[in-house]
């Protein structure tokens, strides 16, 4: 295993300390339990937006803590959901008196730990609502299974709901808005290589020299199928087709296109893929009105990419464009 770390047992804490040093203007880090908190938290009379999940997906979520997005992020161990203590601490550190929205990606561990935390917070008198994101079309949606995973749509939801909260939207409004985003966002990813979890020390999965895994999860969970590595056009179609099957889009529909690197795929390839995706959408008459291109939801050093499409309307565009100032997303401020 080749990694720039001191110890697999302390990698998350070491990274958090580095992060705190890197962004003193934006955030503070509490160590035990570990929480990344917006520098000016708690913001009085603002709905607090709290998210979290396993580490190893940076900049998700800590890189989105700041003005116009998250009030706190709870980093679990690598690829492991945070504990209820972390979430409860985040809630109490950011409570502005008008309630807290918990943003949870739909994984059994995340759901259960946030659920416990919500019970603790409610007992402390904070009004807490929870929204669970499941935007990964690689997983068949069903009541009898764990349901769809939360992936790239998380970033868009956090940005949009964060903007609304910053403007003073109520907890109910934030919650409704989150569900509106959920209804309109779909993602799918693929991997060219595995990642190596520090505490494991070996690649999570093995792929042949000419294979890629389509429908990969952000923790290296196997996807829908393995296919030969083809062109960028092929790769983009493998992602776009199932998204559009699940959420048909056509002539005149307005979208935000989020072309995400899972970490190891360099920007030059990501721009190639983004160009292909824009072209394929344009061919269907879909209007790409906003874009996000970069490594925002990563799986350590995994090479691969994901596409996320969010169906836009005027309100969503305005909230997307609203000022944001975080380590990973910053504009208008």
């Amino acid at each position: 295993m080749k990694k720039i770390i001191n110890d697999p047992g302390t990698v998350v804490l070491d990274a958090l300390r580095g992060m705190a040093l890197a962004h003193p203007d934006l955030l503070r880090v509490r160590e035990d339990p570990a929480v990344i908190v917006r520098a000016e938290a708690p913001v009085p009379r603002k709905v607090a937006i709290v998210s979290g999940g396993g580490s190893g997906h940076e900049p998700l979520h800590g890189g989105f803590v700041g003005h116009g997005m998250l009030d706190a992020a709870c980093p679990g161990a690598v690829f492991t959901s945070p504990t209820p203590d972390q979430v409860a601490a985040a809630v109490s550190l950011t409570d502005g008196g008008v309630g807290t929205l918990l943003i949870v990606k739909n994984y059994t561990g995340d759901v259960l730990n946030f659920e416990t935390a919500a019970e603790l917070a409610a007992a402390d008198g904070v009004e807490v609502r929870t929204v669970v994101i499941g935007d990964d079309v690689a997983v068949r949606d069903s009541l009898h299974t764990a349901g769809r995973r939360g992936v790239g749509g998380t970033v868009l939801l956090e940005k949009i709901v964060g903007a609304a909260a910053e403007r003073g939207a109520s907890l109910e409004t934030c919650e409704e808005l989150a569900h509106r985003v959920l209804d309109r966002v779909r993602s799918m990813g693929l991997a060219l290589t595995s990642c190596t979890v520090p505490h494991v020390g070996e690649p999570t999965f093995a792929l042949g020299e000419d294979e890629m895994e389509v429908g990969i999860g952000i923790h290296g969970e196997p996807g829908r199928r393995r296919v030969p590595v083809g062109t960028a056009d092929d790769a983009v179609r493998h992602l776009l087709d199932p998204i559009l099957e699940d959420m048909p889009l056509g002539e005149g529909d307005r979208v935000l296109l989020f072309t995400n690197s899972t970490g190891g795929t360099p920007l030059i390839e990501l721009y190639v893929a983004h160009g292909v995706a824009e072209r394929l959408l344009a061919e269907r008459g879909v209007r790409v009105e906003r874009r996000l291109v970069g490594p925002y939801v990563t799986s350590l050093e995994m090479q691969g990419m994901s596409l996320t499409l969010l169906k836009l309307d005027d309100e969503l565009v305005e909230l997307w464009d609203a000022p944001v100032s975080t380590a990973a997303l910053r504009w208008g401020i």
């Binding site: 161990a77 492991t80 504990t83 209820p84 059994t108 997983v139 299974t145 764990a146 999965f205």
Partner: protein, 213 residues
Amino acid sequence: MGCAEKDVADAVRAAAGVVRRHRDELVNLDRPIGDADHGENLGRGFAAVVAALDAGVPSSPGGVLEVVAKTLISTVGGAAGPLYGTGFLRAARAVGAAEELDAATVAAALRAALDGVVARGGAQLGDKTVVDALAPAVAAAESAAGGGADVAGVLRAAADAAAEGAESTVPLVARKGRASYLGERSAGHLDPGARSASLLLRAFADHAAGSAG
């Protein structure tokens, strides 16, 4: 054999040792159908449990189980943290203030733990989860206790049934947890959570047998 707080604490320490020794096995079981962390998660949690018990053993068996529960909840994360945490918490409540555990109380504690796991996680028998090890274990424990077995006997029956239950997950298609994302491709693999449940029960049974002998 007595089964006071010290005995329960020792059994938990023994279980922590088993988890440590099986860390890599549990990680590797979690690799093909999960995210390669189950052994790391439980290892971290039980190390913290041992540290908590080193700091002081509570004054009742139920108190020990509660420390285990709370420590697992606050250090494991993932699916296993809340599930095992809830299981131990319900077991602690079932045991109440009893100063020693007898066979019937152990069986009742196991039943409460299973109910807690099911309440929290919503898994049914055959979903390829810890429940597939725990549910047969509870049934076996209850029938052993009903048949007059002692604590060691109850735990042995539970451990034997859990081992078989864990093995039964191999052909199953997962319907809960991370493995469910694989659909049909989850078949052919032992469920890591079922395996860890069976390991924990075997550790308790072995410890009880050792103390009894």
